[in-house]
């Protein structure tokens, strides 16, 4: 295979990764890593480095639009970033002591239940009353819908914060799954509207990934020839996706989200059982 053909295949995969990532609030790693390792025979170290680049590209590319449209909740994102970054640091520390394969299987199963739940869930236009802690932290916000600007409340800040630490630990431990648990923490636990949850997850993802970026550069995980089509493709995909999300129905987004996290779960369980 020539370098040109190789780059074109990666480019197409990267556009898909950016598109899915921006619509679901999940990182593109789940698409990029299997494409590179299974189909193209790339070593896992280079694949992980490339996935990190794709996660940051998805985050910055789509968040640029989501923040401007006022969908992402930047205060909520900033506050929860404390939890995810602390979790990411903890994750790399505990990786030496816990059997990551067992963790992968357990969380894979949790994701499957969540995927099923996401299929069943109905959007109730839930106007929850914010908890005192959420109000004190200035977390409740507004977001644009087809019926105009809608105000929403936020509850269970402590529960959401703990789930975010778990999401951070998982990203430090497994390299995947943190986006899924971020969306679950906001959507299920804190009762943040779905679109706000996925776009805020997107907005946060880049910061969680930044912590590992320098280490990856130094260790040579980031191969420029491999990352070039990924940077370009993911950004194109993410910018397209962000245009689609703004207009899409929440119900359709939930279905895409459910399918993607089920695939992610299968991937996690498979990884756990084969190591």
């Amino acid at each position: 295979m020539t370098v040109l053909l190789f780059s074109l295949i990666v480019l197409v995969g990267a556009i898909a990764a950016g598109l899915i990532g921006s619509l679901t609030g999940l990182g593109g790693g789940a698409v990029i890593i299997p494409l590179l390792t299974v189909l193209l025979g790339v070593d896992i170290h280079y694949a992980i480095g490339t996935a990190l680049v794709s996660v940051i590209a998805t985050s910055s590319g789509s968040a640029a639009a989501y923040v401007k449209e006022g969908i992402s909740n930047i205060r909520l994102g900033m506050f929860l970033e404390i939890a995810t970054t602390v979790g990411a640091v903890l994750g790399t520390v505990v990786a030496a002591y816990v059997p990551t394969n067992v963790v992968a299987v357990i969380f894979g199963i949790v994701l499957i239940f969540n995927g099923i739940n996401s299929f069943l869930e109905k959007e109730t236009g839930k106007a929850v009353e914010s908890s005192k802690l959420a109000t004190w932290l200035k977390l409740p916000g507004t977001y644009p819908t087809s019926n105009g600007i809608v105000r929403y409340g936020i509850v269970n800040v402590v529960g959401g914060f703990i789930m975010m630490i778990v999401a951070g630990i998982l990203s430090g431990l497994l390299g995947i799954g943190s986006g899924a648990f971020k969306v679950i923490a906001m959507d299920n636990i804190m009762k943040v509207p779905f679109k706000v949850s996925t776009t805020t997850s997107n907005f946060m993802m880049g910061v969680t990934a930044t912590a590992s970026a320098v280490v990856y550069l130094q260790r040579g995980y980031i191969a420029p020839g491999l990352c070039m089509p990924v940077v370009i493709g993911v950004l194109i995909g993410a910018i397209l996706g962000s245009k689609i999300l703004v207009k899409s129905k929440v119900k359709n987004l939930r279905v895409i989200f459910a399918i993607v996290i089920m695939l992610l779960a299968a991937n996690m369980i498979y990884k756990g059982l084969h190591h």
């Binding site: 910061v207 590992s212 130094q218």
Partner: protein, 131 residues
Amino acid sequence: MAFLSKIKDSDIELAISKVLRYGVYIAMTFAGIGGFVYLYRHGNEMVGDQYAQYVEKDDKFFDYVHHMFVGIFQGKGRDVITLGIIVLLATPTVRILFSLLGYTLEKDKMYIVITLIVLAIITVSVMGGLG
């Protein structure tokens, strides 16, 4: 400086979205230019097994950046791509710095503290890599 006291959340949102957008466009431009040079020179070569086996490296970050600039001045496409990647990897951190500026202008003490905590944690974990 009356306008500074009237800064709103929507102004911060606009600034952040601009930071992200410019960061992304600059990264894409460098990756595109570098990619064009790289593919022009190497596009017809075989990929072979150049990515099949990971070669461990342990560069000092500043040596890494130094090598990159040397390569750029020699007109190497791959080093121009690397510059684009570094710009991209820096966007989330620059975004946090702009939020900090915004909350400072808004005099929102709680969020100044929250943003500083996030910056401190990132600094610690990046320093772990630099050490």
